[in-house]
Each structure stands twice: as structure tokens, then as C-alpha cells.
Amino acid sequence: MTRSRRHCRREVSTSTLPASVLLVSILLTGLAAAQAQEDGQWTMPGKDYASTRYSGLAQINAGNARMLRPVWTFSTGVLAGHEGQPLVVKDTLYVVTPYPNVLYAFDLTQEGYPLRWKYRPDVSPNAIGISCCDVINRGAFYADGKIVYNLLDGHTVAVDATTGREVWKTKIADIRQGETTPMAPFVAKDRVIVGPSGGEFGIYGWLKGLDLETGEVVWTARNLGPDAEVLAKPGTFKPPYDEGAELAQQSWPTDFWKQGGGPVWGWMSYDPELDLLYYGTGNPSPYNAEQRPGDNKWTSSVLARRPADGSLVWAYQFTPHDNWDYDANSTMILADVAIEGKPRKALVTFNKNGFQYTLDRATGRVLAAPTYVQVTWAKRIDLANGRPVLDPTKQTGASKGNVKGICPSLEGGVSPASPAAYSPRTRLFYTSINNMCMDFAATPATRIAGTPFIGASTPYYAGPGGNLGGFMAWDASTGKRVWDTKEPYPAWSGALVTAGDVAFYGTLDGWFKAVDAKNGRLLSKFKVGSGVVGNPITYRGPDGKQYVAIYAGIGGDWFLLAGDVRSDDPADLRPAAEFMKDLARHTSQGGAVWVFSL
């Protein structure tokens, strides 16, 4: 990408770091270099390869954030969960909508941000019925002059960032087999990395590497099944705890892995020094675990691959034989974390299962795994073998009837849909949290291709304290919350933190909030018209000012769970969800982009 010289100079001049320290940090790690040279753009979902969602912009700070006000808004014309985040490349703001996946390009140099162009792809409505949880999209990735994103119906497109013309379009997934593609692609080493949703449809989960130039599929790696398809090659693949071959086949009943799930609907990170791409996999199918005895590798796991050829380097399973739908698709933040006083090259993730894992990102070994919300399904993670020490009374399955009091709920202590952020200044992680538990009644399920393959009834209720959600700052080196805020509803927005020491998040009842990154004090809030399930970003406009952008548009699981927020279909009337009866009093469906500044 092109970087404005003017912007670089300005950022360096505001830096408080001595030049020698800056130089050392640049030499030490590429990550630090990226942070030191804040270019004011937001070109990929997680801001940088390390997925920190941290911006070096500091005009908006804890002292002046109370002055934040909306300066621009735009209706996307779509009513569905507006997950994901906009991109800002040079002086253009890019927005991808939920199905039908319109791509808008706004000119930031002109008053009112008029459109440069919009791209309306050909996308099949049949994908609507193959989406487990609303027709969301998690955003685009900018690389090599192209905006690359996925259409819901199993296609990846690359659109010329300047002209809006389609450069290539590749079919990557088969909706007839239950695969849809709402995730945001990731680009590393000229590979566009993509994967499917469909853990609720019995897919045979995979990851693909496409050629950035042509869109051609260069490699396909399964997340489960035979080594040859998983791309687990002898000599290259070294899992931290497991030994032997065919792990991802032997840990399943015969051939069951062909419908065993393991979707890829979350976020990815890349460490250029180790040349490792990290991503999490979702739940095994079906939810009724008694149909699939075994660990079910590599579902509910994190995998590290070489982006060039897809070969698997290591894999670690957070939740073996997952019987609670604890997908591991949460963002994997790459950061240097002090563990027992020693700085480690770590991968930090807030798993749905309630444990915050700090892994050695070179090997996959668990360095620490404290709980970050109430956890009842397991007592702790055994660091010697990486496995959870289970509570036998919280294991589910069709023969076990209705198992009560499982925490967290399957929405996750942190939802993978709401990626966390990390500030190298405070050395804290910031994330939305859910405070919910569930009962889990599994039942036998039959797979019929293209229809749901689930087999469980799982009502939710509030955890300790009664509030359903919140937002917290977390110290991974101590495994403790530094501060938290309470929200009446589950919290489903991503986090943003800046060099101004301000953290941003949105709420399900439609507030967009700025809080002090050091203590959680509320600095500013604004009602954006519909519940927030998207992820805030910040950028420097062509006028040199810092802006913050967020989507409004309730959806994803919350559209399903709170069917009474629906207003667009007179033939679909639903009662309020038992555990959050008045959400519809505060929000309804919507679809808008908001921009704030001082």
C-alpha cells in the first residue's frame, strides 16, 4: 500500500519514544515497526497481521473523548446483522454489507463522503437458507490494489479498489453441502486465505489458499480427515501434545469426519518471522456428541499453517470432543506477553469455552489458561498435556438428557464474532464479554445435505450478577481482569483501542461507547439507531483529523434469539426471548455506517 509521507512525519513527531528506542523496536520485530509507523489507514479486518485492532492515532484521547460527536452516517439499505468492519485505504472508505454483499466506496476527500462507486455482485439467494445465524458478512481485506471479500453463496471476489470493477471471482464453497462464506478473507504471501461456515450443517471443514493475482485455488487443506487432505506432512507437522499419524482421522468414527464440521468463520493472524498463519476452527457436527466418539480433531482447535502451500505446522485442540458448541473461531492476537516474568512470543485468544489461552505461537504449547468468566464444564486446563480437566456432571449427549448449569453458554464467554483488541501501551487486552449459562439437551440428528445438522436444545440465562454482558480490560500476564463494565444485554461488538488510550465498543441495545483504556471510565456514548454487532475502526482523514467508524445493525445470533427486534416481515411475529425480554424496547433492525470525530 502507498503511505503518505506527510502522515508519517506527523506521527513520528508526536511520538514520545526516543529515536534509538524506535529504531531498536523496528529492528526487533516487524509488529513493533507496524505500530510505530501509524499510517492512519485500516486495510485489513484486525488492523495488522497480529490482529491487535490497535491504532497509533492519538488525537482522540481520554481527556477529550467526551467531545466525540457523529459527523456522518449512511444507510446501507440492508436489514441484517452488520458484523465486520469498514476499511480505509488512502482516502477511500470501503463498506461491505450483509447479503446481498454490496461493496460501497466512499470518497473521504469530499463533504458528505459521496460514493466513488458501488459494486453489486451476483449472489444467490439460496444461500440465505444455508446460513445458520443470519446472513452476515465479516468484512474485506485490502491487498495489491484489490478489495477482496467473500459473497455469502460460496464465492470470493477481488474488486479493483480504484475503479470498482470485478477483477476475479472464484467459487470456493458449495451451498448444497451446507457451506456458506461470511468470513473475512486474509491475505498473506500473495495468498487469499478463505474458509466456510457450516458447523450447523455437517460440512467437511477446510481452508483454501487462492492466488491473489488470479483468484485460482492453489491449495485446499481440510481441518479434519486423512493427513493427506489435512496437509499434515511428516517432518513438517509437529503438534505440541499429540503423537502419531492420522490424528484428524483416528479421532473420529469411521468416515464421520466427512460430515464432522470444523468450519472457519472467524479471524486469522500471521507472523511474518515464523511464516505462520493462525486460525481457529468451529464446532464438530452434530451438537449431539454421542454420534461422534473421540477427540474429533481438529475441530474447536487452533491451526498454524504455511500460507504459501497450506502445510500444517502445528495444531492444538482447545476443546477435545466438544459437546457444548465451543467453536474456537475467536481472534488470535499475536503479542509479546510476560509469563512468569519472561517475555514470550505469544498467541492470545479468548475461547468461547471461558478460558483465555496464552500459547507459545512457535510451538502451540499452552503457557497459561486462566478462566475469564464463570466456567463449569471444566475445572482447569492441565498445562502438562494441554487438556481440560472435565466436570463429569456437565458432559452432554442424547443419553444424558437435559444437562443443566453449563457455563459459559454456547454464545461464548466472548463471542468469536466480537474480536478483542490489544494495546502495546497499556499491555492490556480489551474485549466484549457475555455473562450467560445454558442447559443443554442433546438429541440424535440426521444429516441431510443442505439442511441443519444440530441435535440440541440449549436455553440460556444470565450468569452471576444478572447482567448478560459487559466489556473488560484483561492482563494476560497475570490472568486477571483489570476493570470491567456491565451491560444489560450480551455484548457482541468487537473492540478498538488507540494510542490515545481510549477503547471503543458498541452494545446490543444500540449504544456506541468510548471508555478510558486505563480504568474503564465512560467517556462518551451515542445511540446509533440499531444494536451494534460490528467492530469499530479508526482512521486519519485526508483533513488530518482522527475519525472513528462503526456499523449499526443488530443481527447474527441476536436476530434469531431476539426475533421480536424484527420489523420487516409482517408474517413473522415472535415472542421476546425469555432471558432478555425488553431488548426490542431499545432497538430494531437497521443497517448504517456511523463516523465520529471531535
Binding site: N126, L410, T451, I454, P459, L561, A584
Partner: protein, 225 residues
């Protein structure tokens, strides 16, 4: 994602059952089993007719209208065919719309519901005609029409006032009573009760082989001994 999945029967366990039952079933049922539920040649989807003149359409009648046993089988199918994965157990709505609120996107008359299931609908409803067969779809229709329309008021208030009376179920077009031959029901009822028809039909392959084909195999095996 949360779902409200209800029990899905272990179909395989009944395959052997069906092998034995099919002979009796065939003898009793004759050959016209699919006829009452065969889909029409013309799809009925126009709800506002230009000039007030409805287009000509084949007539569809639910042969099982009001049949409680068929409704029960339909309820089992609703789970076995994963309908509840999208509409929720009891069909209160999930990623797909509520089927229990008394209002309908594509019409709530029996032929309209039949169409929605058999051919699918453009906002995501898969076409189930190929996998369930018309007989099974009529049982689903019978089940769906047996659902009590939920007490869903069209006004949702958070103020302290008396709630609006629940919406009355929309009237559905009346169909003349279906004419069906009365025949021995024991085996057929068993096939329905255990959900065999979820995967098998008499004379064509659905998920599992046609009962006729199974019968032929059985007879060949028995004959070769």
C-alpha cells in the same frame, strides 16, 4: 447458534422392520399411493391476480386434513427432516420464520404450504419434494396446520396497559373433504409412527430405497434359497 431440536428417530433401526413390513404394506396399499398428493402441473404463487382473475392451477387437497395421527407423524418428520433446525422446535421461528404465529409469507392454505415445502421458496427455504415425497409433505402440512396459532399480539407494549387480544389465526381456503379409500392401516400406521416414510416411499427412491425395490430384493433372496 442455539436451536430447539427435538427427537430424531433412529431410522436405521427400523430398516429391518421395513423390510418385513413392506410386503404387507404393498399388499394393502395397492399402487395408487402417491396419487392423492401428486404436485400440480402449475405452481400456484400469485396472491394478487391481475384483473381479479386467478390463473388456472392444478388442485391440491390434503388427503390427511385434520388427521391427528398424520399430524403426529408430521411432527416427527419436522424434526427428522431438520425443519426445526431453521424454524425451531414447535416452529416458533429461528433463522426461518415462525410457522406458529398464524401469519404466512407465502400463504397458509394447505396447497400453499405444500408448495413452500415441495418446491422451496426464494428466501432460503430448501425444496424438500425430492427427499420427503408428497405423502410425507402432506403429513408435514397436517402437522403445521395442527399447531395452535400462538398468542402473538400485533402490538408489543412495554407500558403498563392491558395486552391486546391475541391475533386470530388467518382463515385458510377451505378444501372439499378429500376422498380416500379406506384400507387396512396397521402396517402403514407403523411406518408413519416410526418415521420410515422420512426416508422411504413405496415406489420410488428417496433417501432410502423404495419399498418395492426392497421387496424385490427380499423376494429374490428368499427365492434363491
Amino acid at each position: 447458534m442455539q436451536s430447539r431440536k427435538t427427537v430424531s428417530a433412529a431410522l436405521a433401526a427400523f430398516a429391518a422392520f421395513a423390510l418385513i413390513a413392506v410386503v404387507a404394506c404393498e399388499r394393502d396399499a395397492g399402487t395408487a399411493r402417491e396419487a392423492p398428493g401428486a404436485p400440480p402441473a402449475i405452481r400456484y404463487e400469485a396472491h394478487v391476480s391481475a384483473g381479479g382473475v386467478p390463473p388456472p392451477a392444478g388442485e391440491l387437497r390434503n388427503p390427511y386434513k385434520g388427521d391427528k395421527q398424520r399430524a403426529e407423524t408430521g411432527a416427527a418428520l419436522f424434526s427428522q427432516m431438520n425443519c426445526d433446525g431453521c424454524h425451531g422446535g414447535g416452529a416458533p421461528g429461528w433463522v426461518g420464520p415462525s410457522l406458529a404465529d398464524g401469519s404466512w409469507r407465502y400463504g397458509g392454505a394447505e396447497d400453499e404450504i405444500f408448495h413452500s415445502i415441495f418446491y422451496g421458496r426464494p428466501k432460503g427455504m430448501p425444496a424438500y419434494g425430492g427427499v420427503v415425497g408428497s405423502d410425507g409433505i402432506w403429513m408435514l402440512v397436517t402437522y403445521i396446520q395442527s399447531l395452535p396459532a400462538a398468542a402473538m399480539a400485533r402490538t408489543q407494549s412495554w407500558e403498563a396497559v392491558a395486552p391486546e387480544p391475541a391475533v386470530a389465526p388467518q382463515p385458510t381456503r377451505e378444501s372439499p373433504p378429500a376422498q380416500r379409500e379406506d384400507r387396512a392401516q396397521s402396517v402403514e400406521a407403523m411406518l408413519q409412527r416410526y418415521g420410515c416414510v422420512a426416508c422411504h416411499a413405496v415406489d420410488k427412491k428417496v433417501i432410502g430405497p423404495a419399498f418395492k425395490d426392497v421387496q424385490a430384493v427380499v423376494q429374490r433372496i428368499l427365492g434363491s434359497k
